[in-house]
Subunit: 146 residues, 6 copies
């Protein structure tokens, strides 16, 4: 099991989450990999979880029915939220809010076929007080086998 250089699933997820039209970031995903992106802003951490999960199911990144893939995605989201919140996975209760762009990528980042599919969730945006501009950037990445 070796991470293939050209199949860095986490890096792709982060680049997707950070991309916007002005950027000169160009990259091509491996064939057959699945991705979705979206946005969510909230003081309620539950809404971030729901936004990513809903998008991933709607775009068929994971199966809508059954628990297995939902469980894999959930823990990838939690890991990404750890990076965003750095310590306590709380937003409004600590008087802070986030404005995030998210990306979910599914594929096999290893050279061995038998490693199967993995899922990466990247969150990038701002965190800060509920006052316009009183915020700085934040990022989180969660990776799980699926």
């Amino acid at each position: 099991m070796v991470l293939a250089v050209e199949r860095r699933i986490g890096k792709f997820a982060v680049l997707l989450a950070m991309s916007n039209v002005q950027d000169e970031i160009t990259f091509s995903l491996p064939e057959h990999w699945q991705t979705c992106v979206g946005k969510v802003g909230s003081m309620d951490s539950q809404k971030v979880v729901a936004a990513v999960e809903t998008a991933a199911k709607r775009e068929n990144i994971i199966k809508s029915d059954g628990y297995r893939e939902t469980h894999a995605l959930y823990h990838a989201i939690m890991d990404a939220m750890s990076g965003v919140t750095r310590g306590q996975v709380q937003l409004g209760s600590l008087m802070r809010t986030v404005g995030l762009r998210f990306a979910v990528v599914r594929g096999n980042p290893y050279e061995e076929v038998e490693e199967g599919d993995w899922i990466a969730v990247a969150l990038y945006g701002t965190i800060g007080a509920p006052v316009r501009g009183s915020e700085h950037e934040t990022i989180g990445l969660g990776i799980n086998h699926i």
Copy 2:
């Protein structure tokens, strides 16, 4: 205080930490911003802290003497480590190791001059068991006023 689109200090730090020669990621930092990059691999979280701090001081990103700037950098590193470790900021004691590339960026990401300098620390690489290949990617970003 508004984050200027072309001065995303966290995004620049992340891109620097993720960059390598094959990449087609090109971006230009605002004038007078200071950066340094480096690598560290360890099962000892203390060594990651030391590697980033030593590089930042050697490259004059922060002042070598005095406590104020060291304190600002330390907490940015801790925040970045939270994203890398997602929960417990421990490596070897939880039987895991990291191989990281780090970037430190210093500059004012806001439109207002009076917001002064901020520092961003990005860590990107792999985390996993102390067995070659038994690892996946991880990222962390910490931002602090300096």
Copy 3:
């Protein structure tokens, strides 16, 4: 102070929390030990705390007035919740819900009389998304001197 084999207060609490009529688990508690069991399902961690505390007071496991025994029970519940939630002691704010059976046991698990009474709180059930079946089992045990 030695834990007596036949007075494993934590084990008894766990077995009580996991028991149901179909089970072939039989065990007998030491004389004069006090127990209570109950159920609680919620997305609100506060409700789990309240359910255990109310049951323990109603069944006279702890004194209803005074703070001392309430304080001992509270921290045993918190420790049990740590096992159930594994990291962040949050439910709804992380978009998850629990369905738990709880047991509280009070007695002296040590061979020495002077170790006095201790209290064990066990929580056993399921944790998962607020969707029927999207859940797996979870357990927690807290033990405190009282």
Copy 4:
């Protein structure tokens, strides 16, 4: 996806970890499920992780090569350690030690075949000061898709 009453993988793991010859706990695992049990005592959390992982690989509960199953097991062990340590996943650095019996169970606890295999890690024993008898019981359970 519904947890089948007679296939409670977590409950079986906990009962296995708590079992000893004097017990009158009898239960039968579903056909084709795999289990292993073992013991570990240490002030070093890394040794607990290693003991469980080594046993699970030696008994062929998980594949020895490849990363996917190791990753699933690792996070189940971490979750179980959270229950054992309740807060900070540290032992010696907080001047405490554990004496644990562990059980690993692999099987599908759901009624639907497509939920596939899951893994449960249970840890049961004592935690306390590094002085004989200065300890109380502790338990932890981690469950993951594999």
Copy 5:
């Protein structure tokens, strides 16, 4: 950079937060240092953050506009809340409430002028169940460069 004995900013903040008219605690702050004190009682951690921040801005301890000083104060409050809550920075969701007196002190606690201003936030009072008297004391201190 050496902490000056007569300029212990944290000690002063703690003494201010703990002071009341009956006390025989007398101490004099260094010239030009700024302080404010106040009270807040709540089951909602967000209200504690807001009370301290509002007082500090109203009393001109920090600048009302701009993000830099607000960011410094926010993390000092979070550090103080860690001491008050000891583990999970949650109040009502863990069925507990606080009654706190707070103090904010701004000044340079070091012998070197170039260390500039630092801010100390002290919280002192009681934490416990939402029942009168079912509570014990608690304290927290956060210090940050500003």
Copy 6:
């Protein structure tokens, strides 16, 4: 159960931990209360725990034999360490060190006799990089029934 104004066990512990000869802090403890003070400096959190526990036993604040009182003291120390470390209860592994003065106080802070004895552990001093002067103050308080 009401905290008596003149029996603030936590406040007394904090004042004792912060006292030195130059101070003009004078206060008198309730009759029959027991106290001890000491100092410890280390990058090893285990040594802080050991120093407080050893002093409390040597000064007969708690019983040297038996587990009950050791258990009560241990958790009071842990709570105090949470305030000192604010997040991760780690020192050297996060490249930081502490120089602390500690105080342990035992007595009944409530108006009701039946609330019995409680124990307060206060830690006050500095935390920072392992470089002289690169540090700021820190405090922690833990209170438990005993």
